[in-house]
Amino acid sequence: MTRIQQVLFEFDGQYLGHPYFVTGNALFNAVARRVDAETRRSLRVSHGVFVPGEYGEYPAGASQDGYAGKLGQSLPDVEVYEDLFVFRDAAQRWLLDSRPRDAHNVHDLQLHGGRVAFDDTCWFGRPAGQRNRRRSVSWYLHCYLHSRQGDGSVVPVDEDVLDGLQVGGARNYGFGEVSVVDTQIVDLDALDFSRLKAAQASGESCRIELVSPFVLESEHPSGDAQDVPWWWRVDTDELSPVSQGGLRRRATRLVDGDETYAVTTVDHGQVVQYAGDEPVETARNGVLRVGTHSRFGFGEFCVRPASEDRVSERRAAGAGGEV
């Protein structure tokens, strides 16, 4: 049994940290001081992805269908593999078209001493003076925890331990405080991987989408240099390349106590072809992450059949939309 504990936090204050996500390292360090040594050794934490609490509908591929009410404020049931990624994509595809989805999904920015912080709430309403017409959208943080072996020895971590964590910069000033709103245990072995199994059976090619960066080089003592995995093929096919120019690499830093370590990564958000032949097994590994810094949240990815377009609008051929 491979158990992961999904946790949904709500932001209680502004956030001044890594703008793409709250790294697993930041979350791990926030949790680590509150747990015993054994848990600390075994605990693995994913990156925390920002999620707006807004009305939505389940995306294509999710086990549930249709309108979902306010989707970002609780954890949807996880039955199929695709359910794991409903919230783990910055574009938050489940937001409703009938509302200003981009405005809901972009952080309100605040300036503090020249630094740009994310507000924990954004306000809507026109005209601005009319109080009754104003409404707010709060920001949430989605991450998951598991133990080193993936067994159930560490999770679930008690909600009291997780509640009130602080992440990001300016924590002494109250920034980056989060409180737990929802948590659930998911058994990876019980998930339905039927779409990937079908792709494997029919020999259909798959693609890998990087949810979090993959570490290539690191100064951190636990990290050796790694190559891009052999089972990633950066597409060089002239007919249908996803992009041209190779993989995007990024330099970042890993903070561990007083030490700071330079880290070179393959940046998240990119798509590569899957060159292996065990997509289901690879997908399972991708949830628990791969690479030397997987314990800090790096190396998470999602596997999809290549024919499956995550932008469902694109498939809907036909007219319309002209104004």
Binding site: G17, H18, P19, Y20, P127, G169, V242, R314, V323
Partner: protein
């Protein structure tokens, strides 16, 4: 190519297509755009089907800023909207007209539709022009790329294909990315800006060195509508381009 920059002038005059006039101060406007370029560009920024109001109590052609939440009319009034509009409509040379639109303010005061007030008339028009110019060259949508001129490159403007130009960088929609880093738009027009942006092999500003550029990059991975995203790039670059105050060194987020 001239007509494409004039086809939606009625929106800046706060009229729908059906009530639009055929001329504006003696210049022909409101002509239809061939090859379905207008429809495809609309699909890049707005949903298919019947439009519905997405922002309560905002039924206006004035754009709402994604950066500040302010309505354009109240933050950057152009004293003479008609006159400024005429300046970017009357130009006869297509390349000059494109250049004028790239740097124009007045069309960015308006949205593509009162139903979708975060969209931008300016960037819708530039996208229509880019699509039309590519379609005319015999290229279909699935052969198009979003190409970037990197921050250390020459942000050369390519007539009709450059869709954003700031002092530091430029973005282009083209079938001929050349050596520039580029990502495919995909098989058909849809609101997929975030998807294309996230796949770019290089972003055109220094995300490793400047946290403010990282914030912009992070926001752009969230925005799906093209004209909203391109307008956001313009506004963010103008308002929050990195200052020395923010320089926390390489990778300065301290993860």
């Amino acid at each position: 190519m001239v007509a494409v920059y004039r086809h939606d002038v009625h929106k800046a005059r706060m009229r729908g297509h059906e009530h639009a006039e055929e001329t504006f101060r003696g210049v022909r406007v409101n002509e239809s755009v061939p090859f379905g370029a207008d429809r495809d560009a609309a699909l890049l920024s707005r949903p298919r089907g019947e439009p519905e109001q997405t922002v309560d109590a905002h039924e206006s052609w004035f754009r709402v800023s994604l950066l500040t939440g302010q309505v354009a009319s109240s933050v950057e009034p152009v004293s003479d909207i008609g006159g400024s509009l005429f300046k970017v409509v009357r130009i006869k040379d297509p390349a000059a007209l494109h250049a004028a639109w790239l740097h124009a303010t007045v069309p960015s005061l308006f949205s593509e539709s009162p139903y979708y007030p975060y969209t931008s008339l300016k960037y819708h028009t530039l996208l229509v022009a880019a699509l039309l110019d590519n379609y005319r060259a015999g290229v279909s949508f699935d052969e198009l790329f979003l190409a970037v001129t990197p921050s250390d490159g020459d942000p050369a403007v390519v007539p009709h294909r450059t869709v954003v130009s700031t002092s530091g960088f430029a973005l282009h929609v083209t079938s001929e990315p050349g050596d520039r880093p580029a990502a495919r738009l995909g098989s058909g027009p849809a609101r997929l800006f975030a998807d294309v942006w996230a796949r770019l092999p290089e972003v055109p500003f220094d995300v490793d060195g400047e946290r403010r550029w990282r914030v912009l990059d992070a926001q752009l991975r969230r925005v799906r509508s093209w004209s909203v995203a391109l307008q956001f790039i313009e506004e963010y670059s103008a308002a929050l381009a990195p200052s020395p105050l923010d320089g926390a060194g390489p990778g300065g987020d301290g993860v």
